[in-house]
């Protein structure tokens, strides 16, 4: 029998148990230590320690520089000296100070006593009041009982109060007396503190970081001691909490949480300005663009925007890997793996954007005005431009401005009138074969079609049938479009000249005439176009492009019949070498197979389809019927109607996935296919990797997949370069779902809005193809100033081995210098420098036609005289061609009146008769014309950007609300009152007040229809003249000052001996001289067009405004035109300005008076 267990006994021997307890407690203690040490040595703490060292070094060297700075030390010695002197003076008058201190002590004592007395008296008075009030309530008979008691108490309270005030004054006097004695020392003390404040602050900070004193060392040691560092450590987690600002979307409906970013825990000095921080390496480096981001004065302060709003990633983590940093390329990935043991955070849905894609985030708030942030986010803007050019929005819906864009490709409504099916077959099969630069993507015969594993499916053959069938459909539905032959016979050689002179090369590239560049690839290249188009069609097209394709960007150049016919002949003569296209026969069997397949796949069939199916099954189907059916099916499959107008597809919805929030799409929803195995370098499952793969080869995810022919991927291939693929990817990553609260969105001023809209219009209409928008920049090494930049035309003198720049803009930065041959100066002046001083030469922005004109200068420029006869002449040198090329728009807003510009854009006419290029008719609508007019004026910050609105309203009888909508002018409510006041005093209202009052009206109108605005009605009745020089008052004042002022000025303009402007300028719509090379703008319209300030500056010295201009400085002034207009040169010029601005008022009749 077993011995019964003793209840007090244990299952284990005590000794064993004790041993295990001992071991586990040792382990536990070890674990605690390990934990404490591990916490003490966390990744972010290591970085912060490094930062402390860096900061301490910085402060030490800073302090050293203070001590070594002779200016600082002398100053400090002086102040110390003063302090010592003041102290010495004080010491000598020790008795007086002591007496004054004693007096102050006594006065303060007296004040204390007086204060006590007055408090007691006040209390007594209150007590007396209570007693008397109580007595009077109990004895209502006597209303004035015991009044004497109150009076006595009140008198005492008053008396003690006055005594206290006296005592208080006594203290002030005593203090002042004492301070007077101390004054000089106090001053020296303050000076000393001020001088050393900065230094002492640095020293205090240094003492905290790297203590020198024993207490400091001890304090820091304890604060940061492992295990004790929870209380008040010097290393802390830094964070930004974006409460109620930019939320973090948890992707559950309605679930949002406050965004907290702790990135600055490691990136400690990220928002600190200073060369040391900028030069440091990550993460102890400051942000490279503190002017734009993080700093409190930037538009994106750190406390309002944090980090992850732009960079994405996980903001609430404290390690490199967990923050989900993502490498920009393979090299960086390898580096990170070694350095940080980096790996992808697979479950974080908002990975940090690789550095090259960071700009994507700007799209969240700035999607509507990308042109405005072009310099800050160039990739994003360029990405959007590529998406626009490639027409991605045709198949993929993208919210925003994208939905207002016209289709990217030409209309196919009248295709039979334009093309032959043979040419079209070759084109659709592989567009780049005919035109390597085309934007039309390749749709067929891509990687998933040519894949040998699909040979049995005969994809390539199927696609040939498809192209044939699509063409059959298009031709069968093509609508009537008459293409009569040109009314006059064209000449190839003349056409070649005309195409260079009329500005066609601004948007089109032709081999041998112009080299491809950014602006002349705006329209399709015309190389070999004769192999595509017939002469008659080209004629009809260039005469009126919008007739064939209403949405085309090609403007109407208002060509003469002869010009158009010549150009048509020339273009038709441009054949593509070795080009012959023949449509292959259709594989009838395959056609029927495909038709049957489609019919079989369909759930329900229409009557016609049922018949076709039956006929196919019986083997007696009408071939054409089958072709049209298959053609329609393939157009639907490929979504051709996304870019082209195709009859019969007007109501179809685009075939692509919506991209509006592609950037936040779940990674699991992106089909990577076998991509991750077949493309190991891009193994990470990342959105950008997917996009890059898709854009490089849109069918890549089909690789190794088993699919039926109709299931294959169908996105066409755009021949993006590697760089373009990356840029478009940046754009796509920016399309994120994110509702930014209104208060965090950018609030653009009216001016900024106008600039954004205008810049987009300038880009979309390729204004830069003809006009220079920004002059070329030349960068050079200046011996004293270092690297400097000027804007102007660079030329090289081989003999002297020197460069010269003819300045197109003032170069003020080194205007004072003339050493080493480099000096700044006014526009039109040259600056010369040695060969080795040139650093870089930039191209101008725009002005694409200039090169053609430089070439034409040598060959001979063809102009037409008044009778339309050609006059051809070579010019003396290349720059002499500049006046004949389209004008630079660099100063346009300063030069012209907004009102004129608005009307000119709506209805262009010939301003410069000597320029053979015509400003085309773009058929701008009101909004576009007014936006462009405002854009140029606001760009130059000139007055009256919206002055055209009034005339516009009058002519179109617009409603107030409509006008207010269009006016978009800054507002000032005060103006309404100002107008009333002025009207009452019989004065005139200045134009700018008038303009602003319209905006005031807008405010009233916003209250709803019918709410009358007195200011607006008043403004409507006022005489409005934005140009002061054109007001009657101004005119009269001039006439009163000088007799026959304007008539004299008119003579100055027309005088044959001095000014003689009509040696070149047109007069009243007609040329005065016959030679078109001498022609210059009509003076009749100057008053409508020019701003007087500009006109004056121009006339004072034209070549200082536009170098290479034909316009000379007027030969007027003393010694030249005294007989006609006595006065200085400046006065004579002012007379010209005044006359030209009132040209229509000074008639020949008035000269007879």
């Amino acid at each position: 029998m077993a011995k019964e267990a003793d209840p007090g006994d244990t299952h284990y021997p005590t000794i064993t148990l004790n041993m295990w307890f001992a071991i586990s407690s040792i382990l536990l203690v070890g674990a605690v230590f390990w934990m404490v040490i591990d916490d003490w040595n966390r990744e972010w703490k290591q970085w912060q320690r490094k930062f402390q060292t860096m900061e301490a070094d910085r402060l030490e060297s800073l302090l050293k520089s203070y001590n070594e700075d002779p200016k600082f030390t002398t100053e400090l010695t002086q102040i110390n000296e003063q302090f010592r002197a003041a102290q010495a003076t004080l010491d000598s008058s020790k008795g007086a100070l002591e007496a004054a201190t004693e007096a102050l002590r006594l006065a303060e004592g007296a004040k204390y006593e007086a204060d006590n007395a007055q408090r007691v008296a006040k209390g007594d008075y209150d007590w007396a009041k209570y007693l008397v009030e109580e007595h009077r309530l109990k004895n209502p008979g006597d209303k004035m009982a015991r009044q004497g008691e109150i009076d006595t108490a009140f008198a005492l309270a008053q008396k003690t109060k006055l005594a206290f005030e006296d005592a208080d004054r006594g203290v002030e006097v005593a203090k002042k007396k004492r301070n007077e004695i101390l004054a000089s020392r106090s001053k020296a003390e303050a000076a000393l503190a001020a001088a050393t404040m900065e230094r002492d602050r640095h020293a205090r900070n240094l003492e905290l970081l790297r203590p020198k004193t024993l207490e400091g060392k001890l304090a820091k040691g304890v604060r940061d001691f492992p295990g004790l560092d929870f209380a008040a450590p010097s290393l802390t987690v830094n964070k930004v909490v974006l409460e109620d600002k930019l939320f973090f979307d948890l992707k559950f409906p309605g679930k949002k949480k406050t965004r907290v970013d702790m990135c600055m825990t490691c990136h400690v000095p990220i928002d600190k300005a200073g060369p040391e921080y900028a030069a440091a390496s990550n993460p102890l480096k400051s942000h490279p663009r503190l002017d734009m981001y993080l700093s409190s004065t930037s538009p994106h302060p750190m406390n309002d925007f944090g980090c992850t709003v732009c960079h994405a990633g996980s903001g609430e983590t404290l390690s490199f890997v967990h923050a989900d940093h993502n490498p920009r390329d393979e090299k960086q990935r390898k580096e990170w793996e070694e350095k940080y043991h980096w790996h992808k955070m697979h479950h974080w849905e908002q990975p940090m954007l690789p550095l090259q894609h960071t700009e994507a985030s700007c799209y969240q708030c700035h999607s509507g005005h990308l042109d405005l942030i072009k310099d800050e986010a160039p990739r994003l803007q360029r990405g959007a431009e590529l998406v626009e050019k490639a027409g991605c929005y045709g198949c993929h819906k993208i919210q925003g401005v994208w939905q207002e864009l016209p289709k990217a490709g030409p209309s196919l409504k009248h295709i039979a009138a334009k093309l032959s099916p043979d040419w079209a077959f070759a084109w659709v099969q592989k567009p780049a074969d005919f035109r390597p630069s085309t934007w039309m993507p390749q749709i067929f015969h891509l990687s998933n079609a040519t894949d040998t594993t699909r040979a049995k499916d005969r994809i390539v053959e199927r696609e040939d049938v498809a192209v044939n069938a699509i063409l059959e459909y298009l031709w069968s539905r093509s609508e009537e479009f008459a293409v009569p032959p040109p009314p006059v016979k064209g000449d190839v050689e003349r056409g070649k000249e005309a195409i260079q002179l009329r500005g066609c090369l601004a948007c089109h590239q032709i081999d041998g005439l112009n080299a491809p560049n950014e602006t002349n690839e705006f329209g399709p290249s015309l190389a070999g176009v004769g192999s595509k188009l017939g002469e008659a069609w080209i004629y009809q097209w260039v005469k009126n492009p919008k007739k064939y394709w209403p949405d085309t960007k090609m403007p109407d150049l208002r060509l003469s019949d002869q010009d158009a016919s010549d150009i048509a002949s020339y273009l038709a003569s441009l054949k593509k070498d070795g080009w012959s296209a023949k449509r292959p026969a259709v594989d009838e069997k395959l056609l029927q197979e495909i038709a049957s397949e489609y019919l079989g796949n369909q759930v329900s069939l229409s009557e016609g389809e049922r018949k076709l199916k039956a006929a196919l099954a019986a083997g007696n189907a009408d071939r054409r019927e089958a072709m049209l059916y298959v053609g329609r099916k393939f157009i639907l499959r490929q979504g051709c109607f996304g870019c082209h107008d195709i009859p019969g597809f007007e109501k179809e919805t685009p075939i692509g996935t919506e991209l509006s929030d592609w950037g936040s799409k779940d990674l699991d929803k992106l089909d990577f296919g076998n991509f991750l195995f077949t493309h190991p370098p891009r193994m990470e499952k990342r959105r950008d990797a997917w996009a890059v793969g898709k854009l490089t080869d849109p069918r890549v995810f089909d690789q190794g997949k088993i699919k039926a022919p109709d299931e294959l991927l169908r996105m066409p291939k755009f021949r993006f370069t590697e760089e373009e693929v990356q840029i478009v990817t940046t754009f796509l990553l920016g399309l994120v779902k994110n509702d930014i609260p209104v208060q965090s969105m950018p609030r653009l001023s009216e001016s900024k809005k106008a600039l954004a809209r205008g810049a987009a219009l300038v880009r979309q209409n390729n204004c830069a193809g003809c006009h220079t928008l920004q002059h070329e920049k030349v960068t050079l090494k200046h011996p004293a100033d270092g690297i400097v930049s000027v804007r102007g035309a660079l030329s090289y003198d081989e003999d002297a081995e020197e460069y010269s720049v003819k300045l197109r803009e003032v170069a003020p930065s080194f205007a004072e210098r003339s050493d080493n041959g480099v000096s700044g100066g006014e526009i039109g002046q040259g600056i010369t420098f040695a060969k080795d001083q040139l650093v870089a030469k930039g191209a101008p922005e725009g002005g694409g036609l200039l090169d053609s004109f430089y070439k034409l200068a040598a060959q001979g420029l063809r102009l037409e005289n008044a009778k339309g006869e050609p006059v051809t002449r070579p010019l003396s040198d290349a720059t002499a061609a500049e006046p004949y090329a389209p004008p630079s728009l660099r100063w346009e807003g300063r030069r012209v009146q907004a009102d004129w510009l608005y009307e000119f854009l709506k209805k262009p006419y010939i301003v410069r008769p000597h320029v053979p290029v015509r400003m085309p008719t773009f058929e701008f609508n009101d909004e576009e014309a007014s936006s462009l007019a405002q854009y140029f004026v606001r760009l130059e910050e000139q007055r009256y950007p919206g002055e055209f609105t009034r005339r516009f309203r009058q002519e179109n009888a617009m409603s107030r609300a409509e006008l207010a909508q269009g006016a978009k002018i800054g507002r000032d409510v005060q103006d309404g009152l100002e107008i009333l006041e002025r009207l009452e005093s019989g004065g005139r209202v200045p134009a700018d007040v008038f303009v602003r009052v319209q905006a005031f009206a807008k405010e009233h109108d916003a209250k709803g229809p019918g709410s009358e605005s007195f200011a607006f009605e008043t403004a409507q009745r006022l005489p409005f003249e934005p140009i002061a020089e054109r007001s009657e008052e101004y005119f009269r004042n001039r006439e009163n000052a000088v007799k026959d002022y304007h008539v004299k000025a008119r003579n100055l303009v027309g005088d044959n001996n001095s000014g003689n402007c009509y040696s070149c300028h047109w007069q009243d719509g007609k040329p005065v001289v016959e030679d078109p090379f001498a022609w210059a703008p009509d003076l009749e319209k100057v008053h409508q067009r020019m701003r007087p300030e500009w006109l004056r500056r121009w006339l004072l010295d034209p070549s200082q405004v536009i170098p290479n201009t034909k316009m000379p400085k007027p030969g007027i002034g003393p010694g030249k035109s005294d007989a006609i207009f006595p006065g200085s040169f400046e006065d004579s010029v002012q007379a010209l300005v005044d006359y030209l601005m009132n040209y229509d008022r000074v008639t020949p009749d008035s000269s007879a008076q």
Binding site: S795, E798, D799, S804, K806, G825, E826, G828, Q829, G830, I831, T832, A858, R873, S876, D877, T879, A880, N1056, N1057, S1058, G1059, N1060, S1063, C1064, V1072, V1073, E1074, D1075, F1077, A1078, D1101, P1102, S1103, Q1104, T1109, K1110, M1111, P1112, K1113, P1114, G1115, I1116, G1119, K1120, S1121
Partner: protein, 241 residues
């Protein structure tokens, strides 16, 4: 023509006097070496169509940009210059301005040579308005300026440069103002000949420049005291031009 020659002669004379015995000279001829002599552009049509034809038809009716003697093929208006690095005479700047006249709608003379710092009088002797449009980079005083009939303006040169001048009212008008930083220069006459004297003995590069024929350099031309070294230039139109 007269004034510039006398000015040049005067400069040469003044400078030559003290160093007469010691110096040497370079002399030679410039000839046209192209296959065919290009015909000068005929201006008659432009002149007749001009509104100022009464004045302009009195002047030359052919362009003056290239004047080649048909028989001897010698080229006029070639600017020949030598840079002397050490020694030699100083650049003399005349006190009175050197004249460039506009007469019957052409520049008279066609080319003037002006020492750095000298003044130039741009004159209009016609009864119609002219302007002088100078293509310059180093002489900021010269701006495109209108000159009324019978008036003139005076400008100061600053740095060596060949300034092309033209008139925008009469687009055929063209001429040159050559600003020189060396006193050793000559302009060939109709016979294509030139002589540059007073040169200290030594080895030089002789530079030829013509407005349409371009530049030519004759290197290692040795000058000896009291002797005349011969140096001829053969110039042809630039390829493609």
């Amino acid at each position: 023509m007269k004034i510039y020659r006398s000015a040049a002669a005067l400069t040469a004379l003044l400078a030559a006097a003290p160093a007469f015995a010691a110096g040497g000279s370079v002399k030679g001829k410039v000839t046209f070496s192209g296959a065919t002599i290009p015909a000068s552009t005929d201006l008659t049509d432009q002149l007749t169509k001009s509104k100022d034809k009464d004045v302009c038809l009195a002047g030359p009716k052919a362009s003056e940009e290239l004047i080649v003697d048909a028989a001897s093929k010698t080229v006029a208006n070639v600017f020949v210059s030598i840079k002397v690095k050490d020694g030699g005479k100083k650049l003399e700047v005349p006190a009175s301005p050197i004249l460039s006249d506009q007469k019957s709608c052409h520049f008279e003379p066609h080319i003037i040579v002006v020492p750095e710092g000298a003044k130039v009088e741009l004159k209009n002797s016609d009864t119609v308005m002219h302007n002088v449009n100078p293509k310059q980079l180093k002489n900021p005083d010269f701006v495109n300026e209108g000159i009324p009939a019978g008036k003139s303006v005076v400008k100061t040169t600053k740095k060596a440069e060949r300034i092309k001048i033209s008139c925008d009212v009469h687009p055929w008008m063209a001429g040159y103002i050559i600003v020189t930083d060396t006193p050793y220069w000559a302009l060939t006459g109709k016979d294509g000949s030139f002589e540059i004297g007073d040169l200290p003995a030594g080895e030089y590069t002789v530079n030829f420049w013509h407005e349409t024929l371009g530049t030519l350099k004759q290197e290692k031309i040795v000058v000896k005291d009291g002797a005349a070294t011969e140096c001829n230039g053969a110039m042809a139109p630039k390829a493609g031009g």
